[in-house]
Amino acid sequence: MTGNSLPAVKLTDSGRPVLLPNEIECFFLSGVDLLSEDEPNTWFPHLKSGLLILTTHRLLWLPEAAVAASSSSVAVPLASISHIFPHKKSLKSVFASPRVRFQVSPSPERGVASSGSRSVVATVVVRGKGDCDAFVSKFWENWRGRAWEESESATSSSSNAAARAASTSSSGIYSSDGTVRMVGVSGILRKEQEMWESTDKSLQDAFQDLNALMSKAKEMVMLAEKMRQKLLSGSSSQMNATNDEEMGSKEEMQELLLSVGIISPVTKESAGALYHQQLSRQLADFVKVPLERAGGIINLIDIYCLFNRARGTELISPDDLLQACSLWEKFDVPIVLRKFDSGVMVIQNKSHSDEEVFTKIKVLVMKPDALRAGISPSDAAMTLGVAPAMAKEHLLSAESKGILCRDVSPDGFRFYINLFPEIDRDDMYLVKDQGIYSSWVGAIPAHG
């Protein structure tokens, strides 16, 4: 339907747009049509009811139905907009849905239309609720800000521009395919020195007072990202020249810069009513790496710390985090929020199966030593490769499934394989030749 007349937008697994380097989302509007009322309209697509995201670089339109999202999301680069018409206030517009008009010129090099097409007036029809006036003023601001020019010049000045074109078309913690990027090592300590000197000034400005800090915060994040890019760009060429010690410090530097990481944090200011929904998607993208590192299950508190650290500023409250997590049920994301009976909340992969954990626990608890003396949460922690507190949760849920049962004594709290179902209630002395009861009888010391 959209053809190739507008560039497509790549989406992450959770349905968030993949942003360009240094691109920041500024405004969200839902229930938006994007179309051209020009006659005849030769190339501009007719897009009905979607989510409009204004960024510093582009105007993104995502369809509301998640299924179609990956195929039909489009972007209008702000660079291709030649004029934004003032928002007219007439009596008629009080009753109709608010409209914002702007002129789009074809620019084939940015993927907008083909050469020879004529420019059209595109219309944004805001059918949903949303502050249209605020949108327009932000739209103007971003369009005039020409943030894309900065990054375009940066890209072209890059020494190996052609080779890196693919990887730099992504931003922040995301790489072009939506996964979180793994970074190499580089050797540009010399450049770092220069940069720190220029940074020094902005640091001093930033710490003058809290307000100044807040206003500088975004710049700081961008600075961090820029430095990371620089570190990256030198990596392949000077790899051999660097010694181990330098590499160590570089890696540390990379880690530090990466964990600042989220260039465009979803904020209440930018997303408004869509705040939790967008936050939820961003969180889903973010969680992947720490989740993998933690073996498919991670404490909610840990994620709260990691996520807020990555955001740097614009910290979210625990409540917001909880809401964002509980919205995952509605999206097609591969992770879920889970609450254990004890009240402990964790984030886990959908593919993470309790059965697998239970199987491991069963094997552990059937070892002769465990048959005799049971297992403690720390024993299970070692086998499962998780924290003891988490291991205890697993043991308790295995208990509630009837796999284990408990032994509370002055020696402590231990778990045993559940033998109760194996014992014949009509003949208490019967031990069948096969089965776990007989294994247990075989494992305990004989006594008179």
Partner: protein, 179 residues
Amino acid sequence: MQKLREFKLPNFFNYPPYFTLQPVRDTREKQIQLWKELIIDYCKTQKIFVIGIEDEFPLFTNTVIERSLTHEAREAFLSALVSEGRAEWMDKGRRKCLIFWHRIQDWADILLQFAKDNGLEDGVVTIEEIRFGTESQGTELQGIDRTILNRALKLLEQKGKLVVFKGTSTDDEGIKFSV
């Protein structure tokens, strides 16, 4: 503990979770079931009629694995027997529990059998004789708990199978069968 040695304990008596009241419902039900059977079996072979909840009842402690039932667990297991009519609390504070390893009806039948075996269908016998007399030696009636015996007698009296008459003291109480 001497008595415990004569009694053959099932293997699971050395299973430590057997001594911890299990929180999971299905597991707990099975655990309670096994405890009820064991208590009844033990009382029957050892001729125990009363279990004091705080007493050193041999079953409630396993010195081999160093485990002992908590007060809560003891009460749970005995209560399970009470709710089935196989035991009865003797006081409101639930400190002593009377165990019916035979139901009262069964005890009544045993009494009638005793009367028949000893040719007492129309005879007279004292309660002392039933409990400690030569006739009852070797039978289940030997040493029977006074409360349980009274219950069985009352049941038979209601059916007209015997008459209880009081003597000058409790020791003199006697019964006359009329089977």
